[in-house]
Subunit: 131 residues, 2 copies
DNA sequence: GTGCTTGCAAAGAGTTTGCACCGTC
DNA sequence: GACGGTGCAAACTCTTTGCAAGCAC
């Protein structure tokens, strides 16, 4: 029944705490390397496998999404569920406030006898500045 | 101005023709390895880099989507635009007939001053047999 | 002290690329 | 015959894993 604020049953380490803080501060999902570089600012000895292992260890509070560039992005699930508009020119990422799928999942689920657990939506195009 | 049925300006080779045929016959997006194995049935000497190079060469008629398992899937764009329900247990893939986003793109585009060129939607959960 | 976590190094998976030969146009 | 396509092998990127030392509880 133990349940800490952030990490439920995991040990609290400098690396883990900083990783969570980096994700909390992030405005958008981050790649493992982006997390690594931000953590490294404060903990220079950290290695990238520590990032990957924590993404696995903390998977209950993290969502992973692989983008079309082949790199996974990670974000805290406690942050509100978002999708992104991704600019193909400048790679800017714009969050969509309201998930457009909530209303549709019930129908999809019933029509296909499929229990929906999660979904991935990314929209690619050109942002205002790059059009 | 030359424009063939399938391949517009590209050379027609045994490998390329078979790759396109495999994609035309496929009921769902295929990984490079799946394409490779199907092509190999008929052309045993084919190598997987030929698949990847053709995915690049034919990118005007192919859509690539990277799933959360880190593998890219490829499908012909001429096939009708689909999204998939992906079972997390048996990895079965069920196509969704009607794109639920068409109706929403206009709003999203206007609200964010974003020119939408393509989108990716995958839904994960448990299929009828795995629930 | 026990067991999870880390750093380091090496291995794996998926994908890309250099090169010489081959086949299409 | 020229040029793009292919097979082969090696390289590259992202991610995962084995191991011994370190740290949290």
């Amino acid at each position: 029944m133990s349940k800490n604020q952030n990490v439920s049953d995991y040990k609290s380490t400098k690396q883990r705490n900083k990783i969570i803080q980096v994700l909390q501060d992030a405005k958008r999902p981050l790649t493992a390397e982006e997390i690594y570089l931000l953590v490294k600012d404060e903990l220079p000895s950290v290695v990238i496998s520590t990032i990957y292992r924590n993404m696995e260890a903390l998977k209950n509070i993290i969502v992973k999404t692989v983008y079309n560039d082949g790199k996974a992005r990670y974000a805290l699930t406690k942050e509100k569920h978002t999708h992104n508009l991704i600019c193909l020119k400048c790679t800017k990422i714009i969050a969509i406030e309201k998930c457009p799928l909530e209303a549709l999942e019930k129908n999809l689920s019933e029509q296909n006898s499929f229990e929906i657990l999660e979904h991935k939506l990314e929209i690619y195009g050109h942002c205002k500045d790059c059009r």
